[in-house]
Amino acid sequence: MKAAVILFPGSNRDRDVRMALAASTGRDPLVVWHKERDFPEVDLIVIPGGFSYGDYLRSGAMAAHSPVMREVASRTNKGVPVLGICNGFQILTETGLLPGALMPNASLKFVCRDVHLRVETSQSLFTNRYQAGQTIRAPVAHHAGNYFADDATLDALEEEGLVAFRYCTPDGVANEASNPNGSARNIAGIFNRTKTVLGLMPHPENAVDPLLGSADGNPLFDGLVEALS
């Protein structure tokens, strides 16, 4: 499986996700600079975490209009899978490739800690190595991870099975206490309609080794390799 990691000025988890991808795929992913209008064909595009363009205007707003994102949008429409992590999720909502918006955390504080996530479905490229209802552990590190969408959009996401992950307690209960940022319905990650795009705030690439406190992110990368090779 060939993957590309998109690099913006201000990206800062690009190396982390490159290492995670290299460990799962056995080769280094291609790194694509934000000014590129074209890049070789790949099986997966990853938009990493960070603070692209210094979060000016809104998180992800500037990156959404960068030259490379036009190409990413065009490939998304052709069905190329895209994984957006943290700032990558924000960029995907700003481009309109995923519905809703990521607002400043309800606490107004930067949240940097491990959280528990409930895997809502195993029926996707990204979650096929998990079981629906399984609880996993991964870190979050963000200031604007508060997922918002109007009720009609939220209902549609739920009805169509497009919620990928929810913040939950260690035993899998999605409640207010386990919600680190005020996200609507504890949503931590969502798919697009065709489930070829996943955006999530937590960092699976920082949960790939017991030394990091969790290896629960590995099945996401290994599952992608299995599905896309």
């Binding site: 205007l57 209009h65 918006a101 918002f148 005020g182």
Partner: protein
């Protein structure tokens, strides 16, 4: 031609910053503030000299970049 753009959170979208400001005002003794909503203000200096066209251009800028219409409303004022 100058344009002034106000960007505000849509009604119904929670504004934790506005809430914190209201709390701080209250702590300073400014009582009786029912609600604070925080927004953004932008001033644009445009080459366009036709008012209607200037509004059209700024409208497009707001829809495309300046505001996120999922969560924000905007209003435009065109000044000489």
């Amino acid at each position: 031609m100058k344009a002034r753009v106000h960007i505000t959170l849509k009604e119904g979208v929670l504004d934790p910053q506005g809430k914190a400001i209201r709390g701080a005002l209250s702590a300073l003794g400014f009582k009786g503030v029912n609600q604070v909503r925080q927004g953004k203000y932008l001033e644009l200096d445009l080459e366009e000299s036709d008012r209607a066209r200037a509004r059209e251009i700024v409208e497009a800028m707001c829809a495309k970049l300046l505001a996120n219409t999922v969560i924000e409303d905007y209003s435009i004022e065109i000044a000489e």
